[in-house]
């Protein structure tokens, strides 16, 4: 009696890849401790975004962002938005509770910059690094003057580097609204800097 076909070679399992953010959140519903890894992955980015908007208050809001995210983890929808934008969205909502702090920060930065160096007189210099540096003050002043919802969109795109669809998802507004708010924010920002800078269009 001939032997049967040899057993197929046992496949040794490859070391599993790290779980994705979405997988960690899903797992954390039943295993809450899994959520801690998301802090390790995203705390720095969330803190930097918050810090650019509200300065030192970011230290407190970082903790609150992750506490709120943890409490809402069961409601997270991976098909709606990825985890980093979701966290940034929570952080943005927390900033709304400190709008005046944010505006004061921009105004203070504008004043501080104003005492250092005046903007370059030649618009062509705006492409030059030194001239760009000189725009720090006017740029901060421009941010202070924007409406909160327009500033949100502008800074989610510029600082959090979210796409339009991600901004729409985290702010829960139609994508057309994102575009119109961004256009308005950019128009007003350019107008505020208009006498000192020229800009290339963003594609």
């Amino acid at each position: 009696m001939s032997a049967g076909p040899p057993d197929p070679p046992q496949l040794r399992a490859l070391p599993s890849a790290l779980p994705t953010d979405s997988e960690l959140i899903a797992r954390s519903v039943d295993e809450p401790e899994a959520f801690a890894s998301l802090f390790d992955r995203h705390a720095t980015a969330v803190h930097r975004y918050l810090g650019r908007r509200v300065g030192d208050l970011a230290d407190d809001l970082l903790s609150e962002t992750f506490l709120i995210a943890f409490r809402r983890r069961a409601a997270y929808r991976a098909d709606h938005v990825e985890v980093r934008p979701w966290l940034i969205g929570i952080a943005t909502n927390l900033v709304h509770g400190h709008v005046r702090t944010e505006q004061r920060r921009y105004r203070a930065l504008a004043r501080a910059a104003g005492t250092q160096e005046a903007p370059g007189a030649d618009p062509a210099d705006a492409t030059d690094r030194l001239a760009a540096e000189a725009l720090r003050g006017p740029l901060a002043a421009a941010l202070a003057s924007l409406k909160t919802r327009d500033r949100d969109v502008l800074l989610l795109v510029a600082w959090a580097q979210l796409g339009y669809e991600e901004v729409a998802a985290v702010l829960d507004v139609p994508i057309g609204t994102v575009r119109s708010r961004l256009n308005r924010a950019r128009r007003q920002t350019r107008a505020a800097l208009g006498t000192t800078a020229t800009f290339e269009e963003t594609r």
């Binding site: 230290d59 506490l67 702090t101 139609p174 800009f199 963003t202």
Partner: protein
């Protein structure tokens, strides 16, 4: 360099995340993770709003509704009450348009914030028939609403302006006294949208009888450029404070610009939620002083100091009436003197 790149490269920057801050935040998260399953976790609402929620069960439903509608902010443990305030004259933000005439039997209520009022809701006494006027600086899209199916979009004229009349059906649920949706159904809707002027779009949304196109158009034709004040107003406010929001024509909150944990709220409770003065001490949370009889608008009123239940902060609670007998309540930080609370209350007006 475009403006987005400019923002990234020379816009305000952040300090690096300090190691101790990172450790502290991570420890707080781990503590929360470890606490899962333990009920009665700390709420993240501002203390004075939480106080409003807890005053009576009846108030809680309405208060939760507007609390949830605004920013949920964590308490700032470093926040400290101001040591004192100075009251100054105060002008409330206005809604930019009026109706001339106002349809008979309808009353207006306004929602807004420090930038002004953006919603005027006109409703009959039963709340079934009326319309809501929204103003915004960007074009609204009436069809982009969950649960709404557009069946027709018609070009119409409103005065000398072009407008769109969007009609269809939408899902609708009643809300019970627990704030839960019940008796869901579909109903017709009609929304008229027009660009009133540059950067001012008007959206007129009808309910009940006002879903009829002719009736809605008639309302639109009566819109005029005349700012309207909110129905609930204060004539005084602490220097350095501003409007945080006003809602439903019955709730107004001011906030200290220098410390957003410090708020002052005036609200008109529904008649069924008015606590008889004799029951105030029993129904209010944590009174820390006696019920002080005072006079406001020439009528008896009651003032009491409460423990807010948050960071040892105490707040004044005043229950008073307007000359017509309508009850209103005022909550203010303890930094207000008793006299200032009464001064504020004397300048509260309500014109529903």
């Amino acid at each position: 360099m475009n403006d987005i790149t400019l923002l990234r490269e020379v816009g305000p920057d952040a300090a690096p995340l300090p190691r101790e801050v990172r450790s502290s935040a991570r420890a707080a998260l781990l503590a929360e993770i470890g606490a899962v399953g333990i009920p009665a976790r700390r709420r993240l609402w501002l203390p004075s709003r939480t106080a409003g929620v807890r005053i009576t069960a009846g108030v809680a439903v309405a208060a939760v509704a507007w609390t949830a509608a605004v920013v949920i902010a964590g308490p700032d443990p470093t926040g400290t009450p101001a040591s004192g305030v100075t009251l100054v004259d105060f002008e409330m933000p206005t809604f930019p348009l009026s109706l001339d005439p106002v349809p008979e039997g309808l009353r207006a209520a306004f929602d807004g914030d420090a930038d002004g009022s953006s919603v005027a809701d006109y409703r009959d006494a039963a709340g079934e028939n009326g319309f809501t006027i929204y103003v915004s600086d960007e074009a609204p899209d009436p069809g982009d609403v969950q649960g709404r199916e557009v069946t027709d979009v018609a070009d119409v004229d409103v005065g000398r302006r072009n407008a769109e009349l969007v009609t269809g059906r939408e899902d609708y649920c009643d809300v019970d006294d627990q704030g839960l949706a019940s008796h869901c159904r579909t109903r017709p809707f009609a929304v008229l949208v027009t660009e009133w002027r540059e950067d001012l779009w008007v959206s007129l949304s009808g309910q009940g009888r006002y879903t009829e196109a002719d009736r809605l158009l008639h309302v639109a034709d009566s819109l005029i450029d005349r700012p309207q004040p909110a129905t609930l107003r204060v004539g005084l406010a602490p220097a350095g404070w501003s409007v945080q929001f006003f809602k439903m024509g019955r709730v107004l909150t001011l906030v200290d610009d220098a410390d957003e944990q410090q708020t002052l709220t005036v609200q008109i409770p529904q008649p069924a939620d008015v606590v008889p003065p004799g029951e105030l001490l029993d129904q209010l949370m944590s009174p820390v002083g006696p019920l002080v009889p005072v006079t406001v608008h020439g009528r008896p009123a009651h003032l009491v100091l409460l423990d807010s239940g948050y960071l040892d902060q105490r707040i004044w609670f005043l229950q008073a009436q307007f000359a017509d007998g309508t009850t209103f309540e005022l909550q203010a930080p303890e930094a207000f003197s008793q006299e200032q609370v009464l001064e504020m209350a004397e300048q509260v007006t309500y014109t529903p």
